[in-house]
Structures are given as C-alpha cells and as structure tokens.
Symmetry: C2
Subunit: 233 residues, 2 copies
C-alpha cells in the first residue's frame, strides 16, 4: 500500500506576524513542516511528499528539506488561488500507479501524533475515506439569520475537524472533479467526499493536534513543546 | 436596574491537579474568582454576588473575598449534585425585589472582558436573555450513530458557547422550574431558556474568554496574563 503526504503550504504566516511561508515558521527552533514530517516518519508513513507552494518559496523549502530530510525527494507543485485549488493541483501530480492512499494535512498542525496517523490510515483502508477529529469541547449553538439562538445540537454527535484527512486516491480525485463540475467551493476535503455520497470515517485525534494560526497559538505550541506535552498521544 | 452575579463554584480543580476549589486556583498569583470579579467590577456590574459552593469551602472563599473585595457581602449558597442544581439553588436565593438581571458565569472563565459584560447586559435588557459566544473556529462535523460523517453544518451559523449567560430573573427562574417539571437535565441555561420558548440573543465574546479545565489551559492562561493578552478585548 503506497501512501503519499500532500501538504498545501502556499500560505504565508501573515497572521503570525511573519513574511516567510507559514510551514517554515520555527516552533522551538524547528520549522512546523519538520515537526509534521518527523511524525509521519515515526508512523512509517513518509513514503513520498507533495508540497504545494508558491514558486518563489521553493528555495526556502528545498533548503529546509535538504537540511532535515536529505533522502526525501519531494514533488513541488504550484499553489492555486485557494486551498481547494492547491489540493487539486497536488492531486494532479499523483497517479494510481504510485499512490493508493493520500494524506492531506494542514501545514499548520505540527503536533499530529504517529498513532493518529496510523489510525486514520487504517480507517481509510477500511472505508476509503477518513478524517481526524476530536469530540466537540464546547457547547455548540446554532444561530438563526438575525443572530438569535435557534437551537443547540446534541454535542455528543459533534466533532471538531482536524487533519490529516486521508483518502484512497481515486476517491478524493473523483470528489475534486465533482466539486469542479458542480462549482462547489470552500469546504474541506472530507466534506466534499461525503457530499459526493462516499462514506467518511471519523478518527479520534488529540487536543494537541492544534492549528497554529495566531500568535497565541504559536505561544501555546512552544509551551507544549517545552513541557513535552506535544509528543504524548 | 439591579444585577447580580451568580457563580456556581462547587467544583474542585481535580482535573487541574488541585484539591482546592477550582475558583480559588491561582493564575499568576491571583485566584481565578478574583480575576472574574475584577472584570465585573470594571464593568460596573458587581452589585451583588451569589456564590454556590460546597459548605466545607466557605472559610476559604470568605478569606479570599475579605482580602480582595472587603466591601462585598456575598450570599453563600450550598451547591447541588450537578451544575444545574447549583444554579437553581443560587436562583432560589434571589428575588424580584432586589434583582432584575442575573449573570450566570463559569468560575473557570477568569478572562471575561468588561466590554463583553456590558454588551451581554444590554442584550438582556432588550431580549430578556442572552449568552456570550464566539463564532466557531473549527469546522464542526456531525456524526451518525456509527461514528461516520453524517453532514457538515454551515459553520457560518455555529457559535461556541461561553459565559456569562444573562437573564431577567423571572425568565431564568421560569426556565429552571420548567426543567424541573419536565425532568430536563444537563443543558446550559441559555439552551433551557430557548427550549422553554423564550428568545436568547448571542453576544460576541473574545477567544481569550477561555475555560480553564486542563493543566494546558492553565499554562495558556498564565501565558496570556504574562503577555498582557488577556486584558485586551
């Protein structure tokens, strides 16, 4: 079973106050991307990497990978206007001869655990599509159009979506082709696949698999690393 | 317009590794409860306090309040089996002669902002009931009974519930009486009020109004205080 890791990494760390690509922002001295790749390596799932980036950032990514993962030969793909376009471009670089399972993972989630990677991989073997998620922590409220409380969905059935989202290659390719035809925009890959009618398994992750978006997130992330909390599943 | 602050504080900080009441756990040297009371004081909404506690903790709460808020004369009420019971006991200690609006606030949300307190108070004057909430940060997934993705609700209509939840006294008293009659358990107060058929306004809070539940939350909270992030709305 050949798997590939696809990381849409065309985004800049502007909300984090940085001008370098977000995936290369250091946390405790190590770029976010390297934290992620180490986890996939530890899970024995780093068989190939597709990095979707802005062309101008290629030298920086090449230097980072040469330094930390000299044996890895990543495929670089040019990013699109939005995340969904970047993912589709990345999928276009993969074919069935070399790839059966593709992990799609946020560059800004450096604390994914090897155990979670293996679990979502196994769920994908079984179901064809799976996403990491955690049971909703907060009570979730649904508002009506005027901003008043409409209803409170049963929290026991709600999950907060994370990544990786993991698919058999033909399933996610079909979903993106369907989204193009139907002009569907702005949903995550698991929701696209479900919308197409294909089942998607939910695989429990950990709260530590946080998305680093704001300076407070980055501060929390560094704290988790220093306290050695980020490395325990 | 007389308002009262009701804090159900019978919980212990066991998940935080402490044996003292959670509301008295220090963050950066100051008990969580004191952070909260300072915010209500700054919002000019600290006209009276109902603290629902375990009887054995009363000396500790009295000592804390005597030290930080010597002019405040809190009403102490004995907590119930669950949060909902504690809130109902607290409401029983209030009557229409002295109270028009009641704020119900988690002891574990010390970073509530004065501006948010004023906003939820004003929304309650208008609508009779309001809760602080923030637009959902993560994509929320709804699972079916077998743990597969059922659907992805439109995130634009979803909010993560916070506190304070603020009510005209007669509205929240009626909701708790209704819940007792109907034997409804385990929902938040705003959901109870909505379930009874009364409108509830959603009032935007800030991400900093986090609930301190785990040691990582406490670490983040101290970081926010030290970086002076917790005090900016």
């Amino acid at each position: 079973m050949k798997s590939r890791l696809l990381i849409p990494a065309a985004g800049r760390g502007t909300r984090l106050g940085a001008s370098i690509p977000k995936a290369l922002l250091p946390l405790d001295g190590v770029p976010m991307l390297v934290h992620t790749l180490r986890a996939f390596n530890a899970a024995e799932q780093l068989e190939g990497l597709v990095l979707v980036i802005s062309d101008e950032d290629r030298p920086a990514f090449e230097a980072c990978l040469a330094s930390h993962f000299p044996r890895l030969s990543p495929t670089f793909v040019t990013g699109g206007a939005e995340r969904q376009d970047s993912v589709r471009h990345g999928l276009d670089a993969l074919d069935a001869a070399t790839t059966e399972i593709v992990f799609i993972h946020d560059a800004a989630r450096p604390f994914i655990q090897p155990a979670t990677i293996r679990a979502v991989h196994d769920a994908t073997l079984l179901h064809g599509a799976a996403t990491v998620a955690i049971p909703a922590v907060d009570t979730i409220l649904e508002a009506d159009e005027s901003g008043m409380l409409l209803r409170t969905p049963d929290r026991a059935r709600l999950w907060q979506c994370q990544t990786p989202q993991t698919f058999r290659l033909e399933v996610i390719k079909a979903a993106h082709a369907w989204a193009q035809r139907e002009n569907l925009r702005g949903t995550d890959d698991a929701t696209l696949v479900r919308g197409m009618g294909h089942p998607v398994a939910l695989v429990p992750g950990t709260r530590f698999n946080l998305k680093v978006t704001t300076p407070e997130d980055a501060a929390l992330a560094e704290l988790l690393i220093r306290e050695n909390l980020a490395c325990t599943a």
